[in-house]
Structure formats: structure tokens, C-alpha cells
């Protein structure tokens, strides 16, 4: 999350919006974003409906057996088509912004700046 904030300008120059989604309520996201200085949208899917529609529900994965999202990243183009998916095998290993930027540049046939 922090690494994406640090590379946010690189996403901006390509017109790509960085969006975080979890079951956290709006208040938690607001507090967390203020504390960490996150400026991109953190969306609250408290009922996990979107998480379910993306088949990313981790049943009982949260505190006190709460249902949460499993970590995953999707790159979506401006027509709404998914161009890249990353379903990590380990909670500790997440997609890096550099990786996403490189894939985006390769897909759009441009040389990375």
C-alpha cells in the first residue's frame, strides 16, 4: 500500500487510478489514510459483496472468524477489461507497483520511461 503511494505519480502520468478495497469500514479507512498519508481511494466493502463477486472471499480469515478479502491485484483498462491478474499464494507476498507499471507499459506497447 505504501509502495503504491510512493509511486502514485507514475500511475498518474499513465492515467491509471490506484484503488484499494477491503471490508474495513469507512471510518477505519479514513483514520488509516490520514495516519499513513494515503491519497488514493480506499473503498469500503463492509458486506464483502464486491469481494464475493470477484471470488476473493477468505472465509474466517479475519479477526474472530470474520470474512475478509484475500490479497489480489487486478489491472483494468479504460474499457473495463481485465488485462492482468495477480492472485498471490502468500499473504506476505504482494504485487509491487514497479511490476504493475512494467506490465502496463508492455501491454500498451510502450517502452518504460
Amino acid at each position: 500500500m505504501r509502495s503504491f503511494q510512493q509511486r502514485l505519480s507514475d500511475f498518474d502520468t499513465r492515467g491509471i487510478r490506484v484503488v484499494a478495497i477491503s471490508v474495513d469500514p469507512v471510518e477505519t479507512n479514513q483514520r488509516h489514510c490520514r495516519k499513513m498519508g494515503f491519497t488514493y481511494p480506499f473503498l469500503s466493502d463492509a458486506k464483502a459483496e464486491v469481494i464475493r463477486s470477484y471470488d476473493l472471499l477468505h472465509r474466517g480469515g479475519g479477526p474472530k472468524g470474520a470474512d475478509i478479502a484475500r490479497p489480489a491485484e487486478f489491472l483494468i483498462d479504460s474499457t473495463g477489461i481485465i488485462r492482468w491478474v495477480n492472485l498471490t499464494e502468500s499473504i506476505g507476498v504482494r504485487a509491487r507497483p514497479e511490476e504493475v507499471l512494467q506490465i502496463f507499459d508492455e501491454l500498451s506497447g510502450k517502452v518504460a520511461p
Binding site: 459483496e49 478479502a69 484475500r70 483494468i76 481485465i82 499473504i91 507476498v93
Partner: protein
């Protein structure tokens, strides 16, 4: 005669502890995250120091201390290493398969959700391409901070 302080046993144990506790530090950096080699390096150094210490304690018991506490520290270090391996190679991988997750080439399921300022945000608006730019969005699903 007072026997020598067997420092390498303590150092070995501290390295093993550091190998475990430094996971949250090293996981921040791409280079040390995908495979926790930095942690294994610390465990490795700890292991070598413990072997050196134990060899001294048992090989030259008149010169070096540490037969009892060296054994205890070594067992603790092995347990810490086992716990680390269990967490990294098993517990962190207990994730649902997500076989039905949308795939490359498919249309991303549409949604509208509130952001941190309680403003409704729709995927359709997020992917709009700004003037002269390709546009699109990266959706990062995460476990939450609770």
C-alpha cells in the same frame, strides 16, 4: 579456574531471534520479501554460532561454559526457526483458491463503494481515461487493518 564465557551461544540465539523478528522489517522491501532469504541468512549465522559454541562447550568443557544453557538456547533457536518456517511456508499460504475470480480478457465486475471520505465511487468512473492518457485502474484487494 573460572571458565570462559561462551559468547557465541548467546550470539547464535540472538541471531535466531533476529531472524524471526526481522520478518516484518524485511517484508517491506521487494528484494527480501518474495523469498525471506535475509531472514534465513540470519538464522544461518545463528546456527553456525551455536554450533561453534556447542563444540566449545562439549569439546573443551574445562575451558568453556555452556553445556546446559547452550543446549537450551539451541533448542529454543530451533523452535524459533521451526515457527518461522511454519508461518512463512504454511500459515501465510492458507488462502482460498479463488478459482472463479475474473480472468484476463474478461469484463471487470462493476461496483460502487464508498471511499475514505464516504463518497460513492464507481469502477466505471475510475477507469475513465483522462485527456491524452491511456487510463485504467489497479484494484488492490487487501485483508484490512481492522
Amino acid at each position: 579456574m573460572k571458565r570462559n564465557w561462551n559468547w557465541s551461544l548467546w550470539a547464535g540465539f540472538l541471531f535466531a531471534l533476529a531472524g524471526f523478528l526481522s520478518y516484518t522489517f524485511f517484508v517491506q522491501f521487494p528484494l527480501t520479501r518474495d523469498f525471506p532469504w535475509a531472514n534465513f541468512l540470519l538464522f544461518g549465522i545463528g546456527g553456525i554460532l551455536l554450533i561453534v559454541g556447542l563444540t566449545r562447550a562439549f569439546g573443551k568443557p574445562k575451558l568453556y561454559r555452556g553445556k546446559v544453557f547452550g543446549t537450551i538456547l539451541t533448542i529454543l533457536s530451533v523452535l524459533v526457526f521451526a515457527l518461522f518456517s511454519y508461518i512463512v511456508f504454511y500459515e501465510l499460504k492458507q488462502l482460498p483458491a479463488s478459482a472463479e475470480a475474473p480472468r484476463v480478457g474478461q469484463k471487470a465486475p462493476e461496483f460502487t463503494l464508498p471511499d475514505q471520505n464516504d463518497k460513492q465511487v464507481a469502477l466505471a468512473d475510475l477507469i475513465l481515461s483522462p485527456a491524452g492518457k491511456p487510463g485504467g485502474a489497479v484494484l488492490i484487494f487487501y485483508r484490512g487493518f481492522w
